[in-house]
């Protein structure tokens, strides 16, 4: 193909829980070259095998090298290509140098040890919601505060600074702001962080993430500060949006909701299916990579220098599981791509899993009649943020 197809408008959806109108149809026939809203042409790869191939082949790199990011609005990229500590845009050994020490902070056993604390935060927030009475907004009552508190504690940010951290992190990555705005917010956050970092250095502890980075790694101060910003931002908005979206899907599919309520102990397996399904149905803009060599993907030759957008529509590929377009909470866990794949797969996946499992299970067991106070299609959704989700979820019980 020589002419790139024009990408459908990414924020237009027929149903708030489904992907951009026309997107899945436009990319269903194998890699398709598309003209994105910012003027960049990129291949969209949406098969399961193709997605895994691109995300795990080192010839596809994340480093965006001075080129515009595939953002939905035009304008200069917010981050410099060589922003220190930008773990999501660095490859090979340099990536492993940042990634491996952090993985230690997110080990499965560490995340499991956090579960009682996560349960306590969920319980306390649902207590408050119940005491205030219906209707309540699930987003502000539970979805947002849960991951924000957990990541702040995991980093080791003292309680008196947590609010400023959360507000600033949302300002930084929440909206596609200008570069000047970014620099102003990052500077503010760096000022708060400096004394915290100094304190951890004096104490010599490594039992929280900041302590681990300060005392157990060779990260520079610039890297460390940017990693803190990135973890805060990545750690709360995504999880919050998904907890909300999972709940909305269950409101819309009562027979699936009954499966969860019938066997809440299996919530861990069900969260994997909800993740597969939700991410797959959102489709749209995906994970961006750039080819450094000519590589064939799904029968199409992608040339060195070409951009590739891996669409997580791949989660709905029948090659992954039968009836892949359907939500089936009786399904066993499959290797879905909801957290990505390859060396950049989500660092916080095991934390997000624990939060989603405990949050969802507790909500539906404690409030067995929880229901939307307005129709799901009439709630307001945020298209101004980098990750998509419901702005508020009014519920009764």
């Amino acid at each position: 193909m020589t002419e790139a197809a024009v990408c459908p408008v990414l924020h237009e959806r027929d149903h708030p829980l489904h992907g951009p109108t026309g997107f899945a149809e436009a990319v269903s026939d194998g890699p398709v070259k598309m003209l994105w809203p910012n003027g960049v042409e990129a291949w969209v790869v949406s098969s399961y095998a193709g997605a895994r191939q691109v995300l795990s082949d080192p010839r596809f790199v994340t480093r965006k090298g001075g080129h515009p990011e595939m953002r939905t609005d035009s304008g200069e990229p917010v981050l410099d290509a060589d922003q220190p500590g930008n773990i999501n845009a660095i490859d090979g050994e340099a990536h492993l140098r940042l990634r491996r020490p952090l993985s230690r902070g997110f080990m499965v056993k560490r995340m499991n040890a956090l579960r009682p604390r996560i349960q306590q935060i969920v319980d306390e927030h649902l207590d408050v919601m119940e005491a205030k009475g219906a209707p309540a907004d699930l987003v502000t009552s539970l979805c947002l505060p849960l991951p924000s508190l957990v990541i702040a504690e995991l980093l080791g940010v003292p309680p008196e600074h947590q609010e400023l951290f959360q507000v600033t992190a949302t300002d930084i990555f929440g909206k596609n702001g200008s570069k000047d705005e970014y620099v102003a917010h990052a500077t503010k956050l760096a000022d708060v962080l400096a004394p915290i970092v100094a304190g951890k250095k004096d104490a010599g502890t490594n039992d929280d993430l900041i302590g681990l980075m300060v005392n157990d790694t060779d990260f520079s101060m610039d890297e460390l500060i940017f990693l803190c910003i990135g973890l805060l931002a990545a750690g709360h908005e995504t999880t919050s949006n998904f907890l909300g979206l999972f709940t909305l899907h269950l409101f819309e599919q009562p027979e699936q909701r009954a499966i969860l309520q019938g066997d809440p102990a299996r919530a861990d397996v069900m969260v994997e299916e909800l993740m597969r399904y939700t991410v797959g149905h959102l489709g749209g803009a995906g994970l961006t990579r750039r080819a450094t060599a000519d590589v064939e993907v799904d029968g199409v030759l992608i040339k060195a220098g070409d951009w590739v957008s891996v669409s997580l529509l791949a989660n709905l590929d029948e090659e992954l599981c039968p009836r892949a377009a359907e939500l089936d909470l009786d399904r066993e866990t499959v290797s879905h791509l909801g957290f990505g794949f390859g060396p950049h797969q989500c660092l916080g996946a095991n934390l997000a899993r624990a939060e989603l499992q405990i949050g969802l299970r507790t909500l539906f067991t404690r409030f067995p009649n929880v229901r939307p106070a307005v129709p799901v299609t009439q709630m307001s959704y945020r298209t101004d943020m980098i990750t998509y989700g419901a702005a508020s979820i009014p519920v009764e019980w």
Binding site: R99, R100, S103, R104, F106, M107, K109, S335, G342, Q345
Partner: protein
């Protein structure tokens, strides 16, 4: 059948531990995965195959 983890590829994501907790663990020293039972009995093999499939760094191998 022998299970291995290639430590030069491992990123410490812990997916193998989720797939087959009786066979894999993560090291307290560096967070990377390690094999606890190199020659697992047949009933643990489905979990091991799942770990091979799920490992994002393609670091887990099962030599049949």
């Amino acid at each position: 059948m022998t299970v291995r983890i290639d430590r030069t590829r491992c990123i410490g994501s812990g997916q193998c531990v989720l797939a087959a907790p009786d066979v894999f663990d993560q090291s307290d020293d560096d967070g990377l995965g390690f094999v606890m039972i190199a020659e697992p009995p047949a009933d643990l093999l489905p979990g091991v195959r799942d770990a091979v499939d799920r490992c994002p760094a393609q670091a887990v191998g099962l030599e049949e």
